[in-house]
């Protein structure tokens, strides 16, 4: 095979290593951001994406008012970060292309690894399927059922798992393989 990371020139291997390290750093902070704003449980993900739109509010025939007393501490209650439909459209528009580019970059690394064709195809599929699951889960949670929050979590974990597998294999083959030279 013409493109083999085990036998690639040092600058190529260094480039791939730097790319993987940089993506790893961004994934680490991505996970931190998820923990801050959406969480890692189906309940918290559902609260973020399903929102009040799931209740299918019926507007009253005439405008009506309900007034009730509240206490000062009611203002201090932690708010759930929510993503409404407009924001999810925007998020999908800007995140999915970036996810696609990251999946493409990692797939180029996979192509240079010494793997059986089936494993390589499986890894590439996983790299691209993960963002589909991630955003598919968000949209299904919003428009269909809160139960689909688990799909988003699966997508997120799949993204992390695919990255880790590619990184471990690449580092091992580029820097520690006996067949390197």
């Amino acid at each position: 095979m013409l493109y083999d990371l085990r036998r690639a020139a040092l600058p190529i291997r260094w480039l791939v290593t730097c790319l993987l390290a940089t993506l790893g750093l961004s994934y680490l902070f991505g996970a931190l951001m998820v923990s801050l704003y959406a969480g890692f449980t189906p309940k918290r993900v559902a609260a973020t994406y399903a929102g009040p739109e799931m209740s299918m509010r019926m507007p009253p025939e005439t405008t009506m008012v309900v007034e009730h007393p509240i206490t000062g501490t009611d203002f201090a209650q932690p708010e759930v970060h929510t993503v409404d439909t407009n924001l999810l459209i925007q998020d999908t528009h800007v995140h999915v292309p970036m996810y696609g580019l990251i999946a493409a970059a990692l797939s180029l690394v996979v192509v240079g690894l010494s793997l059986r064709q089936g494993w390589a195809l499986g890894l590439i599929t996983l790299l691209f399927a993960a963002p589909w699951l991630d955003f598919g889960g968000m949209w299904l949670t919003k428009i269909a059922s809160e139960r689909f929050a688990i799909v988003t979590l699966i997508g997120g974990w799949a993204m992390a798992a695919a990255y880790l597998v590619v990184t471990v294999l690449a580092v091992q083959q580029m820097w520690f393989s006996r067949e390197r030279s």
């Binding site: 951001m33 801050l36 704003y37 009040p52 739109e53 209740s55 509010r57 507007p59 009253p60 025939e61 005439t62 405008t63 009506m64 008012v65 309900v66 007034e67 009730h68 007393p69 509240i70 206490t71 000062g72 501490t73 009611d74 203002f75 201090a76 970060h81 409404d84 407009n86 924001l87 925007q90 998020d91 528009h93 800007v94 995140h95 292309p97 970036m98 580019l101 493409a104």
Partner: protein
């Protein structure tokens, strides 16, 4: 490859950064309803027709079709009312708290939330006196905060001031049409 790099740069530039709290809601309530010792949430559930009117007037529909005003009282005296209005921008949402005095004029405006990216723009605009420009406005007035600070701040602070103007305009329209005119 050039196309890929451009796409990556565009995606990075457009990426929405997380929201940050600039002023906690309880602090905003204390500042905009000074001296209040009792609070009431007045939820106005808009009919389709009224929601449409509001949307036409200020290009805005409140979340879930419900406007929420917070009324403050000190003993038996009404201190005023308060609204939290969200404005969605291409850089993410901001939240503006607009307080009204009992006679219906704007007592004060506080930007309570922005995104990490917009925070310095908001701080620059506020430091230039943006929120002072809204005091005394009443229903029917057009907020002109962005125009007032133009030339004294950078382009991005002026831009975000325009978004704060939108929030204040929405609060004024909602307060004028629905706070006192619909009875509980």
């Amino acid at each position: 490859m050039n196309l890929l790099l451009r796409a990556a740069m565009i995606a990075a530039v457009l990426h929405i950064t997380p929201a940050v709290v600039l002023v906690k809601r309880p602090d905003a309530v204390q500042a905009l309803l000074p001296g209040a010792d009792a609070y009431f949430a007045r939820e106005v559930h808009l009919s389709d027709a009224d929601a449409h009117k509001l949307h036409v007037a200020v290009d805005w529909s409140p979340e879930d079709g419900v406007l929420t005003f917070y009324r403050g009282k000190a003993g038996s005296a009404v201190v005023g009312a308060l609204e939290f209005v969200r404005v969605d921008t291409p850089h993410g949402p901001i939240e503006v708290a607009v307080g009204f005095a009992p006679e219906g004029t704007v007592r004060g405006v506080i930007v309570t939330k922005a995104t990490v990216e917009m925070k310095p723009w908001v701080l620059e605009a506020v430091a230039a006196g943006l929120t002072n420009r809204y005091r005394g406005l009443k229903t029917g007035d057009s907020p002109g905060g962005a125009a007032a600070i133009a030339g004294h701040v950078g382009d991005l602070a002026e831009y975000i001031a325009g978004e704060v103007d939108k929030g204040v305009a929405r609060a004024l329209a909602a307060y004028g049409a629905f706070y006192n005119h619909v009875r509980a």
